[in-house]
């Protein structure tokens, strides 16, 4: 309680730091603030080229799927990356002046929220051009963002504190994020993961993992970032419906005889029904929310405990 009051007293610091972050980030580039939007757009453009044009992905609205998955992911990963730098960068200040240290990871979080909002506006613009349906279920974006933001705060506070003591934390975090990206359903549809019956290569790996596969899938679905992405997709693309969608196109392999194609198409709704029964979403959503909350609390406590010795160890 006392901590919250203290934070409120220093809210202007937070506000000014956020303003500074936004101003500084793109100060020296010709295109200025638009870089923040151009970067993700170019990234999405590259994936579009690779997966849609070169690999001929037939999934419906693939580009819209990409964008709705990438926005929450970008927000999360950028928060964590900025987290590694937020205290180290301000060490001179931390050593000289008193202010609640939690202001630093919070400013990283809020700056990225602003970026997310801007990117969201651009995305709505693209949707207008493509005539993807607008509907009231867009509100789902808000709780999904809150979920991801809570989780991101916890992790970014943790890595912020550790970065003060070990310079290599930021490299480790960067690499782990690169890996984590592929463990969220940004580039591929979720049902491909949930539908996996066995792991293909290598006999020893197969025997090791196949027994654990259901648990791995459960952990996969409990990731707050994944749940956040599902929330975005559900709200923005399928009118608030269940985001486990099996597209027949994805079951069709190139060079199949027409008969097999018809069978695959008929099989899709059955598979979809099975997956939805096997993975009821509400327990996973509640689980992810609890994980996000616990991460935020633990991250904050770690940060607070270590913040007391920042000025001595930096």
């Amino acid at each position: 309680m006392k901590e919250l009051r203290e934070l409120w007293r220093f809210r202007e610091v937070l506000f000014n730091l956020v303003r500074r972050n936004l101003k500084v980030r793109y100060k020296n580039s010709v295109l200025g603030f638009f870089w923040s939007l151009l970067n993700p757009l170019m990234q999405i453009g590259v994936w579009w080229l690779v997966f849609k044009v070169i690999l001929e992905n037939e999934q419906k609205d693939y580009t819209a799927q990409l964008i709705t998955g990438f926005l929450p992911w970008l927000f999360f990963s950028q928060c964590v990356l900025d987290g590694t730098a937020c205290v180290v960068q301000e060490m001179a200040l931390v050593k000289k002046a008193y202010f609640p240290r939690a202001v630093l990871p919070l400013s990283a979080l809020v700056s990225n929220l602003v970026h997310l909002c801007l990117a969201f506006v651009v995305m709505l613009g693209l949707f207008t051009i493509w005539r993807v349906d607008f509907n009231v279920h867009y509100w789902l974006v808000i709780p999904s963002t809150v979920l991801v933001a809570t989780f991101a705060y916890g992790i970014s506070a943790m890595v912020a504190a550790w970065s003060v003591f070990y310079a290599d934390v930021k490299f480790i975090v960067g690499n782990l994020l690169g890996l984590w990206f592929f463990l969220t359903p940004v580039l591929y549809p979720l049902f491909l993961v949930l539908n996996k019956q066995e792991v293909a290569p290598g006999a020893w790996l197969k025997s090791l993992i196949s027994g654990l596969l259901p648990y791995i899938k459960a952990v996969y679905l409990l990731d707050p970032v994944t749940v956040g992405i599902l929330g975005y997709r559900s709200g923005l693309l399928i009118g608030g419906g269940n985001p486990i969608v099996v597209t027949p196109d994805a079951l069709v392999k190139p060079g199949m005889p027409p008969e097999a194609i018809r069978m695959a198409e008929a099989q899709a709704p059955i598979l979809q029904a099975h997956l939805r029964a096997d993975y009821p979403l509400s327990p996973y959503i509640i689980g992810a929310a609890l994980i996000a909350l616990a991460t935020a609390v633990i991250g904050h406590l770690i940060f607070r405990r270590m913040a007391r010795v920042f000025p001595e160890r930096g």
Partner: protein, 249 residues
């Protein structure tokens, strides 16, 4: 008012400097995880009343800056108590917290908020701050284009406009040119006359002599002497002279 009672501060100095996880792992394997504990401050007690200007002098590594940081709430005491009544404002050296890419104006607002001023309060004082720093024509230019003297002037101007009841100054008295030094001194004198507390940590004995009627001599973490500035400085100088002789001999 600043009240320091039985203040102890312990630091841990690791035997080897560890800055990466690899080094930490190597140190762990070799069993070099030890550190030396030492006291940066030992049983320091004093009271500074409102309207008093007190200087702290002493050689490098004596614990002056640690004392300063504890009073500014940056560090926590290991033992003992520090009570500071009234709004504290540390004078940040050389515009600490100024961001080179931002304009002077943005930096003033950022720095003022760090020192506890609201946007509205800063807005009211903005003109006076710029006036004091004498930089009206460059406030919209990024701070990286300023000379170091200009940065210092701006930082000082922000700090003295905070309306602090307790002003903490760490080694920043000799900033700016001769003219600005006079000006800042006059301002600090004015503070004192208004019944505010000024707490100075400095190597600059002349500055302490001019500003403070009372001084603390800190050495090896202990409070050696507490009294009238003239006497404390004389005693300190004598001790330094003695040390020089013994080194020379």
């Amino acid at each position: 008012m600043i009240e320091v009672r039985d203040l102890w501060k312990q630091y841990r100095r690791p035997h080897i400097k560890i800055t990466s996880l690899k080094e930490a792992a190597v140190a762990f394997v070799r069993g070099q995880t030890g550190y030396t504990e030492f006291w940066a401050l030992e049983d320091v007690s004093f009271t500074v009343n409102a309207g008093e200007a007190v200087g702290v002098i002493g050689p490098n590594g004596s614990g002056k800056s640690t004392l300063f940081a504890i009073i500014a709430r940056v560090l926590e005491p290991t033992k003992g108590e520090v009570n500071v009544q009234g709004k504290v404002c540390p004078l940040l050296e050389l515009g600490t917290g100024f961001h080179p890419e931002l304009s002077g104006r943005d930096n003033v607002y950022l720095n003022a908020s760090l020192l506890g001023l609201s946007h509205e309060e800063t807005r009211q004082r903005y003109h006076s701050i710029v006036e004091f720093a004498e930089l009206p024509e460059v406030m919209d230019a990024p701070v990286k284009t300023y000379s170091s003297g200009m940065v210092v002037r701006l930082g000082f101007a922000v700090a003295v406009h905070m309306d602090p009841e307790v002003l903490l100054i760490d080694e920043v008295l000799s900033v700016g040119d001769e003219y600005f030094q006079h000006k800042s001194f006059a301002r600090l004198k004015q503070f004192k006359d208004q019944g505010k507390t000024v707490f100075v940590v400095s190597h600059d004995l002349f500055a302490v002599e001019r500003l403070c009627e009372r001084s603390l001599w800190v050495q090896n973490g202990k409070l050696i002497m507490d009294g009238a500035t003239a006497q404390v400085i004389q005693a300190y100088r004598e001790a330094v002279a003695k040390q020089e002789q013994s080194v020379g001999a």
